[in-house]
């Protein structure tokens, strides 16, 4: 798999890598100066405006999984595969009203774990933390791997070195700047990624006729333009639910809801969804042109970079390298910050040392960010499976959290037992489906079981939850 068809020389790759590293680390240090207290470091001062709010939600959702998996989806599942990937935007759309509700109910909250603990109690909280932290690791690892694969495919930089570099850069600037650095760099990264994808897409359109692509697909791979491809149709619902589950439960999105200024969250998430919707199609369609352009794809997760390099040559390859680097960094930094918040706030502060002072918490937070980076690096070292295999394993688990969270925010009768069993039974049934039916059914089944269980328990439950208990600044740290 090494050096399959790099489009940049390793020297150019290294120069770009070092320049980008210096830029992001410098910005991390620069914006980090704003983080004068814990709220600044963890939540960017809770006053983020619409432009940064929209860009950070969008950039974080544009991951290696969008820029690398979307072409893979297109190559394997055709047009429906790209549309299926686009449905992940609904995660952002549907989270928009929740972001408003979260800010309203928990003006001083820190993490999604805070909500589950206060709303459903400790047992459900432990299960939720296990799911959420496992998912965070899975996402982080899938992107560390993607970083290595990308740099190897584009510039022939050995997988281990490329992966190490991208993790190191993200750890450093997140460490220096906290959420200020993450959100600030996300804005620049989102613009670079959008402009880059449009440039690559336009170059593809310029170099090949879409009529020709369609006719080649019709004769060689008609399955890819089949309007009734069953696996793809199931993938739409599966991806939709996986996307919603990812956004609803993950602290990556909750921390942004807490970080945005009052009145901004709903608008920012709606706009981010709108801006994100076309990305998987714009990034994915180039894979469908591979046959017409005579590019031999030996590893499906490399189809995006290989195609872009083939079409754009040297100058274009530089753009592609930067775009991929940005799409990875914008998510890795967010995950490092949000997962560290979850570990520090929910595990260290709430379980281990409730009396810890702000300075101590910030120091622990920095150790956790480093620890997360080292852990991800160790797991990424042996290149295992394709990106889809790694990521979709977490799908049923996160899908099982959708309903406990959505109902927990709006229904007073949603009960702790219901949330607990919804997450346990939803995850188990989804994982059984994952192994026995296929990855594209797992989230669907996990979410369906979770919905039934949460609803049944809520119907039986007579007790009504008091919303004011969610605001710890009013009710005290122990609720």
């Amino acid at each position: 798999m090494e050096h399959q068809s790099e489009i940049l020389s390793p020297t150019t790759g290294w120069i770009l890598l070092i320049l980008l590293a210096i830029l992001w680390i410098y910005l991390g240090i620069y914006w980090g100066k704003k983080a004068k207290n814990l709220d600044g470091f963890m939540l960017a001062g809770r006053n983020v405006g619409l432009a940064f709010g929209t860009a950070t939600a969008m950039a974080t959702w544009i991951t290696s999984n969008t820029t690398m998996l979307a072409p893979q989806f297109a190559l394997q599942l055709g047009i429906w595969g790209m549309i299926a990937y686009s449905t992940a935007a609904f995660g952002l759309f549907l989270f928009a009203p929740l972001a408003k509700r979260i800010k309203q109910l928990m003006p001083k909250g820190y993490t999604s774990g805070d909500f589950i603990r206060l709303r459903y109690g400790n047992t459900a909280w432990y299960i939720f933390l296990a799911i959420s932290i496992f998912y965070g690791f899975t996402w982080l690892i899938s992107m560390g791997m993607a970083g290595g694969i990308l740099m190897n495919a584009l510039a022939g930089i050995p997988y281990e070195i490329g992966m190490t570099m991208i993790l190191l850069v993200c750890v450093l600037y997140t460490l220096f700047g906290g959420l200020y650095a993450v959100i600030g760099t996300d804005y620049i990264q989102s613009l670079i990624v959008m402009i880059g994808i449009v440039v690559v897409g336009a170059a593809v359109l310029y170099s090949i006729d879409l009529e020709q692509v369609y006719s080649d697909l019709q004769t060689e791979k008609p399955m890819l333009i089949d309007a009734l491809l069953p696996a793809s149709l199931i993938a739409i619902f599966n991806n939709l639910l996986f996307g919603i589950g990812e956004v609803f439960h993950s602290n990556v999105w909750w921390s942004r809801a807490f970080a945005m200024r009052k009145g901004v969250g709903q608008k920012a998430y709606t706009l981010a969804g709108l801006f994100w919707l076309p990305v998987p199609i714009a990034a994915g369609f180039i894979a469908l042109t591979s046959g017409s352009l005579g590019v031999n794809i030996t590893s499906p997760d490399m189809v995006g970079p290989l195609m872009a390099g083939h079409i754009l040559g040297q100058v274009g390859a530089v753009i592609v390298f930067i775009v991929f680097f940005c799409s990875l960094a914008s998510s890795i930094d967010s995950l490092l910050a949000a997962t560290s918040d979850l570990i520090v706030e929910d595990i260290y502060k709430k379980m281990i040392n409730p009396k810890a002072k702000e300075q101590r918490i910030r120091r622990i937070s920095m150790f956790v960010i480093i620890g997360l980076g080292v852990f991800a690096w160790l797991v990424c070292l042996p290149r295992i499976g394709t990106l889809a295999t790694v990521l979709f394993f977490a799908g049923p688990m996160v899908a099982s959290t959708i309903y406990p969270i959505a109902m927990g925010l709006y229904w007073k009768t949603a009960s702790p037992k219901g949330a607990l069993w919804a997450m346990v039974l939803g995850s188990l049934s989804g994982l059984i489906a994952y192994f026995n039916l296929g990855w594209y059914t797992a989230s669907l089944i996990g979410a369906a079981v979770s919905i039934v269980v949460t609803t049944l328990f809520a119907k039986i439950n007579k007790e009504e939850f008091q919303w004011k208990l969610l605001d710890e600044s009013q009710s005290g740290p122990n609720g």
């Binding site: 200020y180 989102s190 359109l205």
Partner: protein, 40 residues
Amino acid sequence: MLFPESIFELLILSSLFLMSIAAIALIVMLLRDIKTKNLW
């Protein structure tokens, strides 16, 4: 049953068009936030 060619083309062209608009909108939003001192 296959997707009609026109839908195939429309899907791709509209996605690229929407992304261009999104990039411009993000820049406009940033300028507005800077002007109104609402960046963060």
